[in-house]
Structure formats: C-alpha cells, structure tokens
Amino acid sequence: MDRNGVEILLVEDNPTDAELTLRALKQRNLANQVLVCRDGAEAVEFFENSASPIPKVVLLDLKLPKVDGLEVLRRLKGQARTKSVPVVILTSSGEEPDIHKAYELGANSYIVKPVDFEAFARAVSDVGLYWVLLNHPPQ
C-alpha cells in the first residue's frame, strides 16, 4: 500500500466490516488509496508519526481494541497537524451519548452502519465520494 497517497484512512477492527467497506468504496473506484488500521493504537501511531501523509478523510469505528474510537478522535483533533482532517464516525452505535461525545470532540459526521448491505454500501460510497472528491480541505 502506498503510504504517501493515502486518501482514506479506515479504522476498523472487524475484518468483514472492513472488507464490505472496501468493496463499497471499490465500486466507486475509491479503494485505491485506502489505509486500514485494525485497532485504535495503530491509528494513533499513524497520526502521531509526522512522516505519515494526511488523509482526505478518516472513517472511524468507535468500538476498537486497545484505544477506543473516541480517544483516537480526541488525540487526532488535539494536534495541530491533523486537527483539520475530516473524521466520519462509522459505527454500530446509534446511542445519543456516543453521538454527543463524538461531535463534542470535533467529529465531522456520524453514521450508524445499517445492517442491510445495500444501505450500508450506499452510505459508505456516498461518504467516500463526498469527502474525497467533492470536499475541499484547507491546503
């Protein structure tokens, strides 16, 4: 995987969810420059390494091994280099406290993963399309 050309950083511990996500992105030709982190610690390590490229969007699950999603979000938004990176929470939890906490920490969007595959695929590809192709991040 080409680390320099990372457009989407997917933080997801569930391999099947990761595979389904990648498949949805692939259908829109967005899967070429995706980096997948399997847990929170890996994601934090990636961001805190100044050599890492800045992705156009981060798709972040909340329930993660080692370091949980909200903590990853807090650290990401806490450092100057990465704080303007858009973060989309992509999780199974639609609970109010989680949503509140995420927005409080600076999440840009919050999406509850639908069980229905078509709906799930549509959501993921729409998110990718919007943030990678339509959105203009600060230079």
């Binding site: 569930n14 099947t16 969810d17 389904l20 498949r23 329930k63 199974s92 939890s93 639609g94 609970e95 993963k113 639908p114 069980v115 229905d116 595959f117 078509e118 799930f120 695929a121």
Partner: protein
C-alpha cells in the same frame, strides 16, 4: 376556624362563673329584699304603737281635769248657772291665759247647752264628745284653714246632782323639727302621721298632710300604696281612747334599700370574680393546652417528614409523661425511618446496579449482533451479485431466504435496541397537546398508507383530547405505535375506522385508540404487551412484536396504566392513562 380546647375551656368557665354570679346576685337580691320587707313590716307596727302610746300620756288632759274640779266651776254648776258666774269665768280665763295654745274654753251642761265661754274659737256641736265619768277625753282633730285644733272634754261638777262639761279647744302646735324627731324616734326612715280615724285632717306634727288612703287604716297588716308620686309601705294603729289613728309610713325604695345596697356592693365583687375566674381559666387552659399544641405540632411535623421533632419535657405531671412518651416514640420512628431509608437506599443501589448491568448487556448484545448479521447479509448479497452466473435457481432462492431473514433480524435488533434504550432514557415531563399530536401522527400514517396504495377506505377520527403531562417524544411514540397498529390491523376492511378519544374516569383521563379491524382473542390479551409477543403470523400482519411492549414501558414510566379490549374480527381498543395530566 378549627375547634380548640384552649379557646373553649376559658369560655366555658367564664360562662359558668357568669351564670353562678347572676344566680347568686338574683337570689341574694331577692332574699335581702324579702328580709328588708319583713323587717319593715315589723318596724312599722312597732312605730305606730310607740306613737300611740306616746299620745296616751295624760299630760294634756291634766289641766282640763283640774279645771273641771275647780270649786268655782263646781259651785257655778251646782247653782244651775245662776250664781258664781264670775268666779267660774275667772277660773276658765286663768287656764286660757295660762295656755298660749288654748283657743277656746267652754262650759256646757249635760244637755249641751253653752253656759260659759272664753276665747274666740267656736266649736261646732258635732265635735262635742262626751267625756268619761272621771277623766278627760280627746275629741277629733279639727281643721281650720292651715291650723289644726284639738278638743278635750272633761266632766265637771257633780254629775248626780248638777254637772256639766268643760271643753277645751287647743291649737296643735306645729314644729318643723317634730316630724324629724318622730322619724328619729321610730328608727330613721319611718314617717309618723296622726289623724282622725274617720278621715281628714291628718298631720305629721310639722304641717297638715293629706290623709292616708282608707285601705291602710282598715288593714291589720302593713300594706303598700302610692302617695305623693311615691310608693309607700305603711301600717296603721288606733290610739286607744281617742278617735285618732297613727300611721307609720316608709317609702318603698327605702324598704328595699338594703337589697339595692347588696346589689351595688356585690355586683362589682361578682364581676371581679368572673373576670379573675376567666383569666385563671385562660391561663390554666393555656398551661394545659400549650404542651398538647407542642405535641400536635411535632406530630404534624413528623407526619410531614421532619422526623427530628421533639417536645419540651419539663413538667412532672400527665402532660410531662405524654411529652416524654411522645419523644421516645418520635425517636423510635426516626430510627426505624432511617434504618428503612438506609435499607431502601441499599436495595435501590443494588437494583440500579443490576439494572445497569442488564441494560448494558442488552445494549452490547444488540450491537454485537449487528456486525455478524451485516457480514451474513453483505456476503450473501455479494454472492448473488458477483457470482450470480454460477448459481442455479435453487441456490439463488436459498440466498434470497438468507437475505430476507437477515433483514428481519436487523429489524428485530433495531426494535430491541429502541426498547432497551427506553429503560435508560430520562423523562422530561411537560404539557402535551394530545389532540394536536394525534392529528400530526394521523396525517403521517395516512400518507404512508396512501403511498402503500392501501385497499379499502380508511377513516381516522380524532376526538377533542385533554392536554396531558409527559415526555412529548415518548407520548408521541405511544400514540404513533397504537395508531399504526390500529391502521395495520384494520387493513383490508372496507370501512376501516380508527378513533382516538378520551373519557374521564375517577378523576383522571383515559385515552384510547379504537379500531374495527382484526381484533384479538381476549384470552391472550395479557400477552399483547410482551416483548416479541405476537398474536398474528408475519404473513398476516408484518411486525416484530415490540411496538406494544414499548407502549407499555413508556406508559409505565409515566406512572400510567395500559390495557386492551377486543374480540376476534370485532376490532380492538387500547386504553392508557398518563397520571401527570394537566387539568
């Protein structure tokens, strides 16, 4: 105003004292009055007797008796009036000049013929009284203008052979001091009068006075009459040997004066006793009721939740014992209350812990169930999309079954999540306009049904509904679930009619949603509100069986009640109450 012993007791005592005082005064006054009257009735006859005795003292008669025995008079009479006229006249003149009060002196024979006469006063024959044999005799009182005269006769000379009558007319000397002296003699307040028994004139020795009424002169006991504008009490007695009577008279007001004095003296004392009694009763009742009021106040405070109340225990009597017992009881109540509170807190904590565990369990189960489900659904879809060509129709059908069931399971999990979320969600109560809410939901349901191209007509009727109090979002879900159910189970009917209404019931409002749809077997009505409990197959009516469980949970969390009535094919009615409702 509440009834109070503290007020009643002094009033009762005061009224009692007042009654006793009035009775005492009335009876006392009556007794004294009666005694005074009895005393007066004893004194009045006594006074008449004293005066009558006084008037019998024979001083006034001595002179005339002496004159009657004068030898010159005797001689003159013996001569039959022929000789000795001058010496007889001289003897008579001597008496006339001697006595300044003697107005006239006459000498008559037994036939009444006037023989000699001195003085200017003429005595009418009618006044003449025949004297007793050896003594002088008083005649009636005679009045001329404002002067009163008195005739005394005595037998003169030798009665057997030649005698006559000497008659002296004396002026009664009035002295302004005399009535007072007589009054003093009779004992203070009694006036004494003398007069002719036959009537006028009468005198009190100070002046001529009007005659007392005849009734008193004939009565043998003291009587009452009015004279000179004043009530009098009087007794009369004859003066023996004279034609006079004596009357002792006393103003009635003086008779009963002691009774008045009694009243004037005793009334202030009685008033003082009543006032002092009232004050003592007031003070006593305060002393008695203040500790009771303390106990009552403390008991009320304890009843309203302040368990640290105590009452003063200073006294050593029954009230003191009451206060001590009360404090002991209050202490026990407080201790048991605290113990109970601690227990409740402990249990609540344990229960909350268990509850939280349960909630977090169902929450994570719901979540963790979704990921594999998504994988099953996702990969089944991928198989269908990417490898469709390699699959025979049966394989495709089987994958379709997997697809359908995973969708259904997804719905179940979502509903279960919603249901479990209800247990943790706080309730923000406020006024809820039930009619407006029901109308909005009805509009939504109608448009969904229209989109689904529903067969048969559908009428949703919203009655006027009272405003309720509750969490608007949750109450909305109750109405929404019930209304959706009603519409769903009346689907396929020609004249489907759903009614949202209310009726008052024992001070609270019962809301209901009624339909004329499929209804249910009342034997299973207790299963309606269980989670995942369904009375119809999924082919008949879609749904997961969580809707009514959610309704029940929301209504219960509002402290309300929910129940249903229905018959198969005759519709169903779902009732619920929201006790926090506004008036």
């Amino acid at each position: 105003m509440t009834s109070s012993i503290q007020r009643k007791l002094p009033v009762f005592v005061t009224v009692l004292l007042l009654a006793v005082a009035v009775a005492q005064l009335t009876i006392g006054y009556g007794s004294v009055r009666q005694a005074s009257r009895a005393l007066a009735d004893q004194r009045l006859p006594l006074a008449t007797k004293v005066l009558a005795d006084l008037l019998q003292i024979p001083q006034g008669r001595a002179r005339i008796t002496a004159l009657a025995r004068n030898p010159a008079i005797v001689a003159f009479l013996r001569s039959g009036g022929r000789t000795g006229r001058e010496p007889a006249l001289a003897a008579m003149r001597e008496l006339t000049s001697d006595t300044a009060t003697t107005a006239a002196l006459e000498l008559r024979d037994f036939g009444g013929k006037l023989l000699l006469r001195t003085g200017r006063f003429t005595i009418a024959d009618s006044v003449l009284v025949l004297p007793a044999k050896d003594s002088a005799r008083y005649g009636p009182l005679i009045r001329q203008d404002s002067t009163l005269f008195l005739a005394v006769t005595a037998a003169a000379g030798d009665r057997e052979r030649a005698g006559g009558i000497v008659q002296q007319v004396g002026r009664v000397v009035f002295n302004a001091q005399t009535p007072k002296n007589l009054t003093g003699l009779a004992g203070g307040d009694i006036s004494l009068l003398v007069g002719n028994a036959s009537g006028d004139p009468w005198t009190d020795f100070g002046a001529i006075v009007p005659a007392p009424p005849q009734s008193v002169l004939t009565s043998r006991v003291p009587i009452r009459y009015e004279r000179g504008g004043e009530m009098k009490r009087a007794a009369a007695a004859p003066v023996p040997g004279t034609p006079w009577m004596v009357v002792a008279e006393m103003p009635s007001r003086l008779v009963i004066a002691p009774a008045r004095t009694y009243l004037v003296t005793m009334a202030p004392i009685a008033a003082l006793i009543v006032i002092v009694g009232a004050l003592v009763a007031w003070w006593g009742s305060r002393r008695l009721t203040t500790p009771l009021a303390d106990v009552t106040r403390a008991a009320e405070a304890i009843a309203s939740g302040d368990l640290e109340q105590h009452v003063p225990e200073g006294r050593d009597d029954e009230l003191g014992r009451l206060a001590r017992s009360f404090n002991t009881m209050a202490g026990q109540v407080a201790r048991s209350h605290h113990r109970l509170e601690a227990q409740v807190a402990q249990r609540t904590e344990a229960l909350e812990g268990t509850n939280a565990e349960l909630e977090s369990f169902s929450y994570s189960v719901s979540h963790d169930l979704r990921a594999p489900l998504r994988a099953i659904h996702g990969f089944a879809r991928i198989l269908l999309e990417d490898h469709n060509a390699k699959l025979d129709p049966e394989a495709q059908r089987l994958l379709g079954v997997i697809d359908q069931n995973t969708r259904r399971m997804g719905q179940l999990i979502d509903d279960l999540l919603a249901f479990s979320r209800l247990g943790r969600q706080g309730i923000t109560a406020g006024p809820v306009d039930m009619k407006e809410l029901a109308r909005t939901i009805a509009d939504e349901v109608r448009s969904v049904e229209a989109e689904a191209e529903r067969k048969g007509s559908l009428e949703i009727r919203i009655d006027p509904l009272p405003v309720a109090r509750g969490d608007r979002a949750l109450v909305r879900q109750v109405i929404s679930n019930l209304l959706q159910n009603a519409v769903k189970f009346s689907r396929g009917r020609d004249n489907a009619c759903v009614e949202v209404g209310s009726r008052p019931d024992g001070g609270q409002t019962v809301y209901f949603v009624k339909d004329n749809g499929a209804g249910f077997d009342p034997r299973y009505s207790d299963k309606l509100f269980g989670v995942f409990q369904r009375l119809h197959s999924a082919e008949q009516f879609e749904g997961t069986g969580v809707g009514l469980a959610i309704v029940k949970r929301i209504v219960q969390r509002h402290g309300g009640r929910v129940w249903a009535e229905g018959q198969v094919d005759q519709g169903a009615t779902f009732y619920f109450t929201l006790p926090g409702e506004e008036n």
